[in-house]
Symmetry: C2
Subunit: 184 residues, 2 copies
């Protein structure tokens, strides 16, 4: 789909960082007028809805500097260069939770902020979990606290605004939908 395509007249890289980079593009609009587009480039990420064998959702609490607060999220992390998303998912699950999984299914991929960023998140469903001895360790600048909650407890955390993150709310709603469809 290339409808209403905006032709790039010029692209200027403003910043190249460890995680994101920023560019400003001059574009020609479909009516011939010109505009500027501010674009954040991101390597892509995965998120994992991990369900323990007693049907508890694994959540990770961590400080998010961009928000100046802690958030409760499902395990997630960005892809390394060239890393297929399934591999990122298995690595992040082990690093952040200490679990490995027997099955990993793709649920959905989506762009998080298409108005200004190209970040895509690949969401996976990890089941048949097993605690690993000597798991991979989280990155040295990451500090996380693990929680395991039931679906009802997760819904209460959303109602209480302790879960406030799009991918996490989507994943919990997905579980709620599966439960509703199964019990029909």
């Amino acid at each position: 789909m290339k409808q209403f395509e905006e032709k790039t007249l010029n692209s200027q890289t403003i910043f190249t960082g460890k995680i994101i980079s920023l560019q400003v593009d001059d574009v020609e609009l479909p009516d011939g007028k010109k505009a500027k587009r501010e674009i954040v480039k991101h390597p892509g990420a995965v998120a994992i809805l991990a369900l323990t064998n007693d049907k508890r959702i694994i959540l990770v609490k961590q400080y998010r500097k961009a928000l100046e607060r802690s958030l409760i999220e499902i395990p997630a992390g960005k892809q390394e260069a060239g890393e297929p998303p399934e591999k990122t998912a298995l690595r992040e699950l082990e690093e952040e939770t200490g679990y490995v999984c027997g099955t990993l299914e793709h649920i959905q991929s989506f762009y998080t902020s298409p108005g200004f960023a190209d970040e895509i998140i690949h969401l996976y469903f990890a089941k048949h979990l097993k605690k690993k001895e000597n798991p991979l360790q989280v990155d040295e600048d990451e500090f996380v606290e693990l929680m395991e909650v039931s679906l009802d407890e997760a819904l209460q955390l959303i109602a209480d605004k302790k879960i406030y993150d799009a991918k996490t709310i989507f994943a919990i709603q997905y579980l709620q939908l599966q439960a509703a469809l199964t019990s029909k």
Copy 2:
């Protein structure tokens, strides 16, 4: 929740644009070590799940320069300075679709990319829609095409990867969940 708080040692503004700005913060981690955080500041946005009186979902197709492709999304837009989100929702609904609504309910708010941005989206449910004569016009650099689809058609667009946007997939899944809960 301030657990694992990262103390700001220095904050440098790299870029201030029309929509986003970028800063790099030097922080002190909970273990006393230092790290850098790349942070995109965004004014916040709204998105609207708008259901016509014959239960069709209003969708907007537009080119997203960050992705170099067109996406199909629910109507959305960023908040003007000081604008309450309900007002943004009513304005964007009218500008992008030509509809005004009889009722507007808040569904959920969420951060879209807490790892690197402070963008929050407030999602609303607009019902009892009425076409307006001489509606507000979209911004002059916006080109959109309207679609009205049933829930089943929307689910098919997701399966076909024509809908690939987090807030839109969340909103459609929300409708699907409501339908499943009602039919139990």
